[in-house]
Amino acid sequence: MELESMYQEIILEHYRRPLHAGLREPFDAQVQHVNPTCGDEVTLRVTLKDADGEPVLADVSYETLGCSISQASASVMADMIIGKTVGEAMAISEEFLRLMQSRGTAEPDESVLGDAVAFEGVSKYPARIKCALLSWMAWKDATARALDERAGTAAAAGPDGDREQE
């Protein structure tokens, strides 16, 4: 049955026993993202720490209300990115986005994506791509806010050139 290509055992496993689930303190930023077509929700918190001057994801905690795909995706994501630098996690997120937009034609890089390659089958179902991306989008948003927050507290240093290229 085709269903197994979407609901791979790894996905069902993460759905049944999600990793890093629950909202934890302390945190630098919290966001709530909703998929308005189905009402699925994720609340996600990001905690950053400094390691050799680079921001590292000390913790990513979340609470989801949604289908197996969105719950499993949050679990896989948290497990992959906690402990990584923001730059490394962003690279994984870009690769995951590329996979999800491929409609099943991409050759996912398992060395980058780890368990997240299991979502390849989901990319063949356009209606479910948003489910898989919900927590990643929330994470990106929360991280951007957490970084802004840090930039804000360090802002005495003067204007940065971020927006000039736009």
Partner: protein, 440 residues
């Protein structure tokens, strides 16, 4: 009344049984294969219905023989297109037992609700005859918790624009409206009551005539959302009680892009326009304009004539079947579905468990399995259902559900398809529950 006699002649007492095999032959799409090579089992007509050959032919015939911009042009095609458009209006009026001057074409039921809501906020600046539509601080708009977002958000917005207060009837655990506090909610402050004529989630058919009588006694206007009732049950605007009725063509075998606002003539006469522009004006000067009477006042721009013609053909198709028969067929399918689903453990139906004052939307939640996942398994079996909150988020909250899976039935659905749905739900349970017994 002639219209009523015609309806009686078309419909034998009690309604003849539908010849579903013959009906299905008119819907080519029902013969196509879907995922896994399965035959399509289409249980999502509440979102949009399929279209019979007769409707497609009518639209195609308009484009191939009479296509021109209606109500414009000094040429033969323009005249024929105008005739076709106006005949479609008359046909739809007859379907509802109304008169053609009370039928306004919109692009959808959603636009029809917005038309009334914006006409009401425009009323403040539209002269004394529009005064009865004006709302402001101290006035109230009364809706219900059972509404589709299309009959909810436009009223919230009207209240935000005007300072009026939005109030609503709650729903009971079985999805029916809690009308016990009608005396408190319907008062002299109430300017408009907007209520569904059939819930798209629970199938509940509220007592619109009763609500309308109470509203009229306080001088309020009443709008009924017929998006789920007009396609599925006989609707007679002379008995409905409401002042306005909105519905969409695409949910009743017609094309997309066409909807209807029916309104009582004297109200339409006094109501200011919503969308302005060409073909709704009488005289235009650089600093001001005057407008045509209804229905033209509310139909700015080149009208969707081919879609109106298609919708008229849908009315022909439904009347040939007989709306009493259509309703009886769906009631039988709904009773079957309620019965079949009641036998599934861990399944909760959102809405009444019997078919009394209830249409054919059967929404349900399953313990431990999200509707998206249920829908995916059903899709794998060729069964098309709706999953999510079905544009009725507050109603889901009120019924204690984050979202649900919904099956809806129409003239082409069979009892075998209802059985396939019940089997499919069991397969979904098996798929997601296997090896999950130890899950925390």
């Amino acid at each position: 009344m002639t219209a009523q006699r015609e309806m009686t002649a078309r419909e034998p007492a009690g309604g003849a049984q539908l010849d579903v095999d013959a009906i299905r032959a008119d819907f080519a799409i029902l013969g196509r294969a879907v995922r896994g090579g399965n035959h399509l089992i289409y249980l999502d007509s509440g979102a949009t219905s399929q279209k019979p050959r007769q409707v497609l032919d009518a639209e195609r015939d308009f484009y191939t023989t009479r296509n021109a911009a209606a109500h414009r042009g000094a040429h033969l095609l323009g005249e024929e297109a105008t005739d076709a458009y106006e005949q479609a209006r008359a046909r739809i009026a007859a379907f509802l037992h109304g008169s053609p001057g009370e039928i306004i074409f919109t692009k959808s039921a959603t636009e029809a609700v917005n038309l009334v809501a914006y006409a009401m906020s425009n009323a403040a600046t539209s002269g004394p005859q529009a005064h009865r539509f004006a709302v402001g601080p101290g006035d109230e708009v009364l809706i219900t918790e059972a509404e589709h977002h299309a009959n909810l958000v436009p009223w919230q917005q009207l209240c935000e624009r005007t300072g009026a207060t939005l109030r609503w009837f709650g729903v009971r655990p079985d999805g029916r409206l809690n009308l016990a506090d009608a005396g408190e909610l319907i008062t002299s402050r109430t300017k408009l009551v907007a209520v569904t004529h059939q819930s798209n989630v629970t199938g509940v058919v509220p007592p619109v005539a009763e609500i309308a009588a109470a509203a009229h006694a306080q001088g309020a206007l009443v709008l009924a959302d017929g998006a789920q009732s007009v396609p599925h049950q006989p609707v007679d605007v002379t008995r409905l009680g409401a002042d306005f009725l909105v519905f969409s063509g695409h949910k009743m075998l017609g094309p997309s892009g066409i909807g209807v606002l029916w309104g009582r003539r004297e109200l339409l006469e006094a109501m200011p326009p919503f969308i302005t522009g060409g073909s709704m004006i009488e005289v235009v000067r650089m600093d001001r304009s005057t407008f045509l009477p209804p229905p033209e006042r509310f139909e700015a721009g080149v009208p969707a004539a081919a879609q109106a013609v298609g919708l008229a053909a849908a009315c022909d198709y439904l009347d040939a079947l007989g709306m009493t028969s259509v309703a009886a067929h769906e009631e039988a399918l709904t009773a079957h579905a309620l019965d079949a689903l009641a036998g599934i453990s861990g399944l909760r139906i959102l809405g009444p468990l019997d078919t009394d004052q209830r249409g054919g939307a059967v929404s349900f939640v399953l313990d431990g399995i999200h509707p998206h996942d249920v829908g995916q398994v059903l899709d794998e079996l060729g069964i098309a259902v709706r999953t999510g909150h079905h544009c009725a988020w507050p109603l889901h909250r009120a019924l204690g559900a984050q979202s649900s899976t919904r099956a809806t039935f129409y003239v082409y659905n069979t009892h075998d398809e209802v059985d396939a749905l019940a089997d499919g739900i069991r397969q979904a349970q098996k798929f997601f529950r296997s090896e999950s017994s130890g899950a925390a």
